[in-house]
């Protein structure tokens, strides 16, 4: 077990470096040049100098900023290692993600770690509610459909879930916004709390809940259909196993057959969805957060891409990649717990 985890971790680290290097190189293609912009900005103080001296001063400043930001070379590997904090800057100090320096967001004028904090919290807030609600609805629904396969209930759920599955999530959000905000005026369209309010204690909690209600409902409905379909399919597969026939032949109660024998088999393909879903919470919901102006990770990412906030995007990419790889590891380990046949010690 320990060896397996170690092996996986090593592999994870390799892939992590590979992916971040690719992304890093991609981002180097952006025509953004911070040293140049800053040097130009600093030149304002030297306006009084004659032209030749200005030019010389600019070159000097430019080089100084390039050295400060570590961009005084074109070697991608050196740049990447500097970003990681493994290669010294011009003045010999090392500063990168391994030394705890994730970069500085120019758009938010703050270290990226500080900016990301509240966004992760917001995303996790609605994500957690959503994930619990989605699993709470879809698993019983999927099981019921599988048990009543081919009956009217199953067929109507199938039909609805097919439509839901085929609808891009943003269309579902549009429908909900139009219905709940524009027609019924039940929920606010955007924001985390009533603007300018100074509510405290329970009233504040209620206010926040009122604001996050619609995004959560949208998110839940956006992911109901696909998970119901997967749950139903894996449950149908599980119910057609020989062990189920044996269990029925033994005279076990239908409840015991479905919830104990079949469900334990059906949950194996579901593991990836459930675990991945919980990890996905951190990444946030990009489209939803953009539409609601909800300050979560997704919106942060999109606004960073739009404003070319270089350090921010790289940090978010690191988080995304890390979450993706780590959740894969957790999924594999969970398989070992859920399915006794899977031996992960080899």
């Amino acid at each position: 077990m320990g060896r397996y985890i170690l092996k996986r971790l090593l592999y994870m680290i390799l892939v992590f470096f590979l992916l971040t290097f690719v992304l890093f190189c991609l981002y180097q293609m952006m025509p953004e040049n911070r040293a140049y912009t800053d040097a130009k900005g600093a030149m304002a103080a030297y306006k009084h100098l004659p032209k030749e001296q200005q030019e010389a001063k600019f070159q000097e400043l430019y080089l100084q900023y390039q050295r400060q930001y570590g961009t005084d070379t074109d070697n991608k590997v050196v740049l990447y290692l500097r970003w990681l904090g493994l290669y010294p800057f011009y003045d010999g100090h090392r500063s990168g993600i391994f030394t705890g320096d994730f970069g500085y967001s120019y758009e938010h004028a703050a270290p990226v770690v500080q900016v990301v904090g509240p966004h992760i919290r917001n995303s996790m807030l609605i994500g957690l509610f959503t994930e619990i609600a989605v699993l709470g609805i879809t698993i019983p629904l999927g099981i019921k459909c599988a048990v009543k396969k081919g009956q009217r209930f199953d067929r109507s759920v199938q039909f609805l879930s097919l439509i839901g599955f085929s609808t891009p999530s943003f269309i579902i959000y549009i429908l909900f916004i139009v219905f709940f905000c524009s027609i019924l005026h039940l929920f606010p369209v955007s924001g985390m709390k009533t603007p300018g309010s100074t509510l405290t204690g329970f009233a504040n909690v209620l206010d926040v809940l009122w604001h996050i209600a619609l995004p959560t409902i949208c998110l839940v409905f956006g992911s109901l259909a696909s998970i119901t379909r997967i749950c139903r399919a894996s449950m149908i597969d599980a119910l057609s196993l020989d062990c189920i026939r044996t269990a029925r032949a033994k005279g076990l109660k239908e409840k015991a057959v479905v919830y104990s024998h079949a469900w334990r088999n059906a949950i194996i393909p579901m593991v990836a969805i459930i675990v991945g879903g919980f990890f996905g919470i951190i990444s946030g919901a990009m489209i939803l957060e953009t539409m609601f102006g909800f300050k979560g990770m997704g919106l942060l990412f999109i606004s960073s891409v739009r404003t070319a906030d270089y350090d921010m995007i790289m940090f978010l990419e690191v988080i995304y990649t890390f979450i993706g790889l780590f959740s894969n590891l957790v999924i594999d380990l969970t398989y070992g717990i859920v399915d006794p046949r899977v031996r992960i010690s080899k």
């Binding site: 592999y11 892939v15 590979l18 992916l19 992304l23 991609l26 981002y27 293609m29 952006m30 025509p31 396969k149 081919g150 097919l162 439509i163 599955f165 085929s166 609808t167 891009p168 999530s169 943003f170 269309i171 549009i174 916004i177 139009v178 905000c181 524009s182 027609i183 369209v189 057609s240 990444s283 990009m286 489209i287 953009t290 539409m291 990412f301 999109i302 891409v305 739009r306 070319a308 995007i313 978010l316 990419e317 995304y320 990649t321 979450i323 993706g324 790889l325 894969n328």
Partner: protein, 661 residues
């Protein structure tokens, strides 16, 4: 033995369709006996011959597929969708992506642009329109309105006429972009619609705005003598009244009409009209176009394509009697019945057709881009802009038109009894218009072409990469398998949306044409999506290699390549087919989501995703419901159908499922 007559392929297809869509009952009715019943009674040497009862897997899958009514309908819908989307653009030759039309912005679905009310049809005195609605006046003095009168997000309705108007006999009426003015026979002035730029009345707000020319008091107080009025006309955000003695009253937004100042208080005007940005007129000398701006419209041409000459040279003593304008150019009617043009013409114009011998123009009317001219023989010719086919005159008006009216994109011909003969031009919009004034129906078809192409090509790329890697991996195994599968794992652990967003924002840094960008999106989608196909192919190959029939084939000494293509490939193809359908729908969804966020296909190129961008705003979503409802309905309907096909295919290919049914 009686040889069975083989059924024609088309007949067979039709038979299956009927069975699938309408049931075996109709199949028997229309095609005679069922196929399988015929087969059941065959005997060979006294022994029942069941060799024809055993059907190949492909045939069995096909048969079972055709039994699913919904799936068959879905196949037809998807095929129809493909045809509409790929052939449709050939039927809209006037369509182009970047089309904008300021007077047609945000109009709801309607077909009422030429719906002249029945009471008016036999008693027309005048018809005028500038934007999306038309206003008509009957000889009895009643005012009628049709077209789209509810304008903009504010919900302002231009059809709310002042109530006391119904008691008066109206003599003149004119319509602007969002306002109307009318003069009763006793001189009373009425104005309704938008007053944002002081088009209709004096209010404290308009008085405070220095950019507006206020309505003259004698007009507003009803002191004009209606019998002395020559012409009442409206521009985009301005209005003008011209008296027979040459006195001009003009008011409205001076920012739209920069030279409006030059016309205030003029008393020597013979005719006046508005282009999009200028007021133009003819003074009593009748030899030049009065604009108040030096050098503007001083060159004329006898037809649209001819070379322009100086107006004084061209006239050569003739007088200008009438001036009519479209947005960019103007048309002058001379006293000898000929016409000439000034100003620039855009693309897509129809030139004046050759007139008959002795025929000359007696009246010219103009819309936003087109002109309609009436001749002394009662013929009507339309020329100028033709985007909405407003220059296509129906044959019914031949030789019997007595008067013509034109406005925005429509023309109306009226006979000598004031009876409407015919009308031509823009009828309306089936799906409404978008924020740029383009027809959403056309954009939906063009956008469907983009979305479906992106989806299809992305899937094809996915299949090509995925299947070949899966084949290599599964067939050769060993270290190659491990390596390829690790690569696939890396690709599948790339977070799709963040990565797509970064790549797409990188694409904006590179100067790409619209189509190149589209190809890049297809390639990116394909390159990120292939691992699924690789896993499936590899798994199928591994299963097939272990199976008995392959072992048997190997034992019989069948060549490896033959095994691969004849025994293993068919098994893979069916699975790939299922995944291809589902992936196609998924790719379409990814593309629309990206375009919706603004990171996929960009405006002006339409896609089913970026056409919905405006709906992310709650107010816009409810006010301009037609801008997202139809497109998203079609998108959902198409993906539902594609997924239905995929689901059904998977069901009918699964040998286990047949026992349960």
């Amino acid at each position: 033995m009686e040889k069975k007559k083989k059924e024609n392929v088309f007949r067979k297809l039709a038979r299956w369709t009927v069975r699938g869509l309408m049931g075996p009952k109709y199949e028997e009715k229309w095609f005679g006996k069922k196929e399988h019943e015929e087969k059941a009674v065959k005997y060979k040497n006294g022994v029942p011959d069941d060799s024809e009862l055993i059907v190949s897997p492909a045939r069995q899958i096909f048969q079972r597929f055709m039994e699913r009514k919904f799936a068959v309908i879905a196949v037809f819908v998807v095929i129809a969708m493909f045809l509409i989307v790929f052939i449709g653009p050939y039927f809209m030759p006037k369509y182009y992506d970047a089309f904008t039309e300021t007077t047609q912005v945000d109009l709801p679905p309607t077909m009422s642009f030429m719906a002249v009310p029945n009471e008016l049809k036999n008693d027309i005195k005048s018809i005028d329109s500038y934007g999306s609605f038309s206003v008509g006046l009957s000889n009895a003095g009643k005012v009628y309105m049709w077209g789209v009168t509810r304008l903009g997000a504010s919900g302002m309705d231009a059809s709310h006429m002042p109530e006391e108007m119904s008691t008066k006999k109206i003599a003149f009426v004119a319509a602007g972009q969002d306002h109307c003015i009318a003069i009763a026979e006793d001189g009373t002035y009425y104005g309704w619609g938008s007053n944002r730029f002081g088009q209709i009345a004096r209010t404290p707000e308009t008085e405070a705005n220095p950019n507006l020319e206020l309505i003259p008091e004698e007009v507003e107080n009803g002191q004009l003598d209606a019998s002395q009025i020559k012409k009442v006309t409206c521009g985009y955000q301005a209005s003008a009244i011209l008296m027979k003695d040459g006195t001009l009253y003009i008011w409205g937004n001076k920012q739209t009409y920069a030279n409006l100042d030059k016309f205030i208080g003029r008393k020597n005007i013979v005719d006046i009209d508005f282009t999009l940005n200028n007021v133009v007129g003819i003074d009593t000398k009748q030899t030049t176009v009065v604009t108040g701006v030096k050098g503007l419209y001083n060159m004329v041409r006898p037809n649209i394509t001819a070379k322009a000459t100086k107006i004084s040279e061209y006239l050569n003593g003739r007088k200008i009697t009438e001036i009519r304008t479209t947005s960019k150019n103007l048309c002058l009617l001379l006293d000898d019945g000929s016409i000439c043009f000034a100003g620039d013409f855009e693309k897509d114009v129809v030139d004046i057709p050759p007139l008959e011998e002795g025929e000359k123009f007696v009246d010219i009317e103009s819309g936003t881009y087109h002109y309609s001219g009436l001749t002394n023989k009662g013929n009507v010719y339309s020329f100028g802009g033709d985007h909405y086919y407003q220059s296509k005159v129906p044959s019914s008006v031949h030789n019997n038109a007595a008067k013509i009216y034109a406005g925005s994109f429509q023309s109306y011909a009226v006979d000598s009894n004031s009876k409407l003969i015919d009308k031509w031009g823009l009828k309306g919009y089936l799906f409404g218009t978008d924020g740029a004034g383009a027809d959403i129906f056309e954009r939906t078809i063009a956008g469907g072409k983009v979305t479906m192409t992106v989806g299809a090509i992305a899937v094809i790329i996915e299949i090509i990469i995925g299947v070949s890697i899966g084949l290599l991996s599964g067939y050769f195994g060993g270290w190659l398998d491990i390596l390829l599968m690790r690569i696939a794992e890396v690709f599948s652990s790339i977070p799709l949306y963040p990565f797509m967003l970064i790549l797409s924002s990188l694409l904006t840094q590179v100067a790409l044409t619209q189509n190149q960008r589209l190809y890049m999106i297809m390639v990116i989608l394909g390159v990120l999506g292939w691992p699924g196909f690789a896993y499936i192919t590899r798994a199928q190959i591994l299963v097939a290699r272990e199976s008995e029939y392959v072992t048997a084939a190997q034992a019989m000494g069948v060549k490896e390549t033959r095994i691969a293509f004849k025994h293993i490939l068919p098994n893979i193809i069916s699975v790939i087919l299922v995944n291809m359908t589902l992936s196609f729908a998924a790719s379409m969804q990814t593309e629309t989501s990206l375009s919706f966020l603004g990171f996929g296909v960009n405006y002006p190129q339409p896609s089913w995703g970026n056409m919905l961008t405006r709906a992310s705003n709650a107010t816009a979503a409810i006010n301009f419901w037609w801008q997202w409802l139809f497109t998203s309905a079609i998108l959902v309907f198409t993906t539902v159908c594609i997924n239905t096909i995929g689901d059904t295919l998977r069901d009918v290919m699964d040998p286990k499922s047949s026992n349960d049914k």
